[in-house]
């Protein structure tokens, strides 16, 4: 059987599973895999919420109940919550970071309060900050109310997971899939392993390279720059790392520290629109999300933060949504639909249409003048059996999608002429 024939077979198989569009997004290296015979699905709860001043705890409790309750998940357990606190700086004035491109502090406090009330043994808030910058200081800088947070769960712990942190060794977490896209396993801060329940507390927003940031993309920030950063050590982690993940993860121009698992295929496409969604998928396979919570109460459009050209804040009350689910693929699928997009959209079509200024960006070193795109993470995750990206298969509870949707695309600043 030729490679082309094999690809046809693969596509036909996907069509049979209702994954045809997904096949378009999948690259050549994935064509020989056996598709999962079934993908898990789990209920997703949707609620309207217009303000961070509403009774968030009550709202979340209802939502948790709608997906089966959190009592058993939480009681006596160590819970790790990956926050979505990307970047910092000036933000989108006059709004605090947590209203627009970070997950909100009041919402986080409400989540912690409910976990605490449900008998959590330990709650640890995780984010990968600049080395030397405590998570507590970062959130204070972003306008969170530390007292509120500590009142919500008095013994709250924080860990900067950008390096070893308080751990003695890195945790090696292997992708469950037999066919990892980019990395077979990751070396992460111990907190991602030392927990019974892993929660992704994410923002609902666009993303410059992946199209959307939701519960899965949030976990990209779990990778420690000591190993996956541009100035990571060649052999061993650099605990004093300073730079971001562009060279290693976005473009694969260099490998992570040799102490960590290396790429499975060094000949694979180096374009970030290809790599980042796959790395996210590998990560979710290695560190599954047990509970996904998406903050869409207020947000931004056009990018994941103010450093993205043409990004802008949405006003208070927009999108006015909260989404909660036990399966991150299902939860993100519902969230994408709520954002007004087709969760099965192919790469290059909104929201997976992306565009970077060729004069300013460095992506074209790998991508040249080819059309830009971000692969659909939902379909990539579905293809390796992490969860269903098929809306029809997902039990949406609470407010129906049709009554809660918010059109993100119409709020974007116009695409540049070259991208239209």
């Amino acid at each position: 059987m030729s490679e082309q024939q094999m690809e046809m077979t693969r596509r036909q198989l996907l069509v049979g599973m209702g994954l045809a569009a997904g096949a378009i997004a999948l690259g050549r290296s994935e064509c020989t895999w056996a598709a999962p015979s079934s993908v898990p699905t789990a209920p997703v709860s949707v609620a309207k919420c217009r303000s961070y001043d509403e009774d968030l705890a009550a709202k979340l409790k209802t939502m948790f109940d709608q997906i089966g309750g959190i009592g058993k998940l939480v009681q006596g357990k160590t819970i790790a919550i990956k926050l979505n606190l990307t970047g910092g700086g000036r933000g989108f004035p006059p709004y605090p970071h947590g209203d627009t491109f970070w997950v909100n502090g009041k919402l986080t406090a409400a989540v912690c309060h409910l976990f605490n009330q449900a008998g959590a043994k330990r709650i640890r808030l995780l984010e990968s900050n600049s080395v030397g910058l405590k998570v507590e200081d970062k959130i204070l800088d972003g306008g969170w109310d530390m007292k509120l947070l500590k009142n919500a769960a008095p013994d709250l712990e924080f860990e900067n997971t950008n390096n070893l942190g308080s751990g003695k060794r890195y945790a090696r977490l292997r992708a469950k899939s037999a066919h990892p896209y980019i990395y077979p396993a990751f070396d992460l801060n111990h907190s991602y392993e030392d927990c019974d329940l892993f929660v992704s507390l994410a923002k609902m927003k666009h993303h410059e390279e992946c199209g959307v940031t939701l519960s899965m993309k949030n976990v990209f920030g779990a990778t420690p720059c000591s190993i996956y950063g541009d100035d990571a050590g060649v052999d061993e982690p650099n605990e004093g790392v300073r730079r971001g993940r562009a060279e290693v993860l976005h473009f694969g121009r260099r490998q992570p520290s040799k102490s960590a698992p290396q790429e499975v295929d060094l000949t694979s496409d180096r374009y970030e629109g290809h790599r980042v969604p796959r790395i996210v998928t590998d990560l979710i396979g290695a560190r599954p999300i047990d509970l996904a919570i998406i903050d869409g109460i207020q947000s931004c459009v056009g990018g994941e933060g103010p450093w993205v050209p043409r990004s802008k804040a949405l006003p208070p009350g927009q999108p006015g949504l909260l989404v909660v689910g036990l399966n991150p693929v299902c939860t993100d699928t519902v969230a994408v639909a709520l954002m007004g997009y087709d969760p099965r959209a192919e790469a290059g079509k909104p929201p997976f249409k992306v565009w970077k200024d060729k004069k300013q960006g460095d992506y074209q070193r790998e991508h040249g003048d080819l059309p830009q795109f971000g692969d659909n993470t939902l379909l990539l995750a579905e293809a390796v059996g992490l969860g269903s990206a098929e809306l029809k298969q997902i039990d949406v509870r609470g407010v129906p999608i049709k009554d809660a949707g918010f059109d993100f695309e119409s709020r974007r600043a116009p695409w540049p002429a070259e991208a239209r």
């Binding site: 910092g88 000036r90 933000g91 004035p93 300073r242 994941e304």
Partner: protein, 441 residues
């Protein structure tokens, strides 16, 4: 007031007649008038009329033929007419040196203070802070050796400057210990002449800021509170990059004091945690001795490659060498990239060791100083954004008992000092432009 711009004699005479009339009127109100001289004329053509008009001084702005020689000529011409008028050359920082013979130091290369989202050559990344154009470092650099001589900054604002831009320029110079040469736009001049309400309101605000600086003149003489000593070499050949290092260290909000190389001594380093020795391209034996003693006693010295020949690990800009109870961070390059160096400093010092930290203050720069008794600490805060900085949190190590917040446009207010993990925190609810937090024991 513009006095001479090398124009034809009729135009010059007409202008000087206007200024003369203005100067007489101003003098009756106790206002000193300086004439602004631009290149083009010769001293003999503008000095005599200036003396006749009773000007208090001449400010030379621009590149004059002969440079310092021209300044001396003007000075001599004034003296020959028995005038006590001062001569102030408005020149770039790089030409300023302790040896400069002028009663007022004026920097021509100050920038219009403000915030830029993107600056040339600076990549916008998730962790990027907004780019702040500030002159605090510039004023501090010159003030470090100016003694009692006033330091003026002579930047021009945009023609469409908002009232807050003027306030920011005044405060920006004041925070660094200098004064801004108030230069109103033609539009504002016109508005004031027409008694337009907006222009009058803007002028009142400008006057309030100038008055505030005058009323609290003693504050600006407080010594800098510092954990970092920035040694600068005002006779060095790479002053531009040295200035950028100082600028970016100030932008990282590192409490520092500037130490002129010639003034370097063990006493000058007292109370510091770290010292910046990058400007000491080739430290003398004496300088090496002083820094070594500082390090032996637990300090951190940041030095260039001439400090010691050593292997710097690949992917790193510097290596840390333990010495005695302290450390030396030895850089690979003689002049490390200023942006990286400034960030390194924060990491090397440790954020919790800065003495004073700021949160929710991305658009705010500061200067911290203490009085002679050590009982009063001043935290000056200047917001460079066109929008108000809200809920700025100042975290201080110290046993202060009261906190009061002053602004030029409102009455001082008591603010709450809260203890948090052994440190004191003060929340400033709103900072439209400038304010001073006074902490007292």
């Amino acid at each position: 007031m513009t006095w001479s711009a090398g124009g034809d004699s009729e135009t010059e005479q007409q202008q000087q007649r206007h200024v003369k009339a203005y100067a007489w009127e101003a003098r009756t109100r106790g206002i000193a008038v300086l004439g602004l001289v631009h290149p083009g004329g010769v001293p003999s053509s503008f000095v005599g009329p200036a003396v006749e008009a009773g000007l208090d001084g001449l400010v030379l702005e621009g590149e004059f033929p002969g440079g310092e020689r021209f300044v001396s000529e003007v000075r001599r011409a004034l003296q020959s007419k028995n005038s006590a008028a001062v001569v102030v050359p408005l020149i770039a920082r790089e030409k300023h040196a302790p040896s400069l013979d002028t009663p007022i130091l004026a920097a021509a290369d100050a920038v219009a203070p403000g915030l830029r989202e993107f600056a040339r050559g600076v990549e916008a990344t998730p962790s990027s802070e907004p780019w702040i154009d500030s002159n605090i470092w510039l004023a501090r650099s010159i003030c470090s050796w100016s003694g009692i001589r006033p330091v003026w900054l002579g930047e021009h604002l945009a023609t469409n400057a908002a009232p807050a831009d003027y306030l920011r320029a005044i405060a920006d110079a004041a925070v660094g210990g200098g004064r801004w040469v108030v230069a109103l736009s033609d539009e504002l001049h016109h508005g004031l002449r027409q008694k337009q309400p907006e222009a009058t309101a803007a002028w009142r605000r400008i006057a309030a800021y100038l008055k505030f600086q005058q009323e609290h003149a003693d504050w600006y003489e407080y010594a800098p509170f510092a954990v970092y000593g920035f040694i600068q070499d005002s006779s060095g050949k790479d002053r531009a990059i040295s200035g950028e290092n100082l600028n970016l260290a100030c932008r990282q909000r590192i409490p520092l004091r500037v130490i002129e190389r010639a003034q370097l001594s063990a006493a000058a380093l007292e109370g510091l945690r770290a010292v910046h020795g990058i400007d000491l391209i080739q430290p003398t034996e004496q300088e090496r001795k002083i820094l070594s003693a500082f390090v032996e006693n637990g300090g951190l010295a940041v030095a260039g490659p001439s400090w010691k020949q050593m292997e710097i690990p690949k992917n790193q800009d510097f290596a840390v060498l333990p010495a005695g109870r302290g450390r030396v961070a030895v850089y690979r390059d003689e002049w490390p990239e200023p942006g990286s160096l400034a960030k390194d400093l924060v990491d090397l010092l440790g954020r919790d060791n800065l003495g004073v930290r700021f949160f929710r203050a991305a658009s705010v720069l500061s200067h911290i100083s203490i009085d002679k008794t050590g009982n009063r600490m001043l935290v000056q805060l200047l917001n460079y954004a066109s929008y108000s900085a809200d809920s700025v949190l100042v975290r201080v190590v110290g046993d202060f008992r009261t906190a009061r917040f002053y602004t030029p446009e409102s009455a001082p207010e008591e603010v709450a000092l809260e203890k948090s993990d052994g440190r004191l925190e003060v929340n400033i609810p709103r900072l439209p432009v400038y304010g001073v937090l006074l902490l007292e024991k």
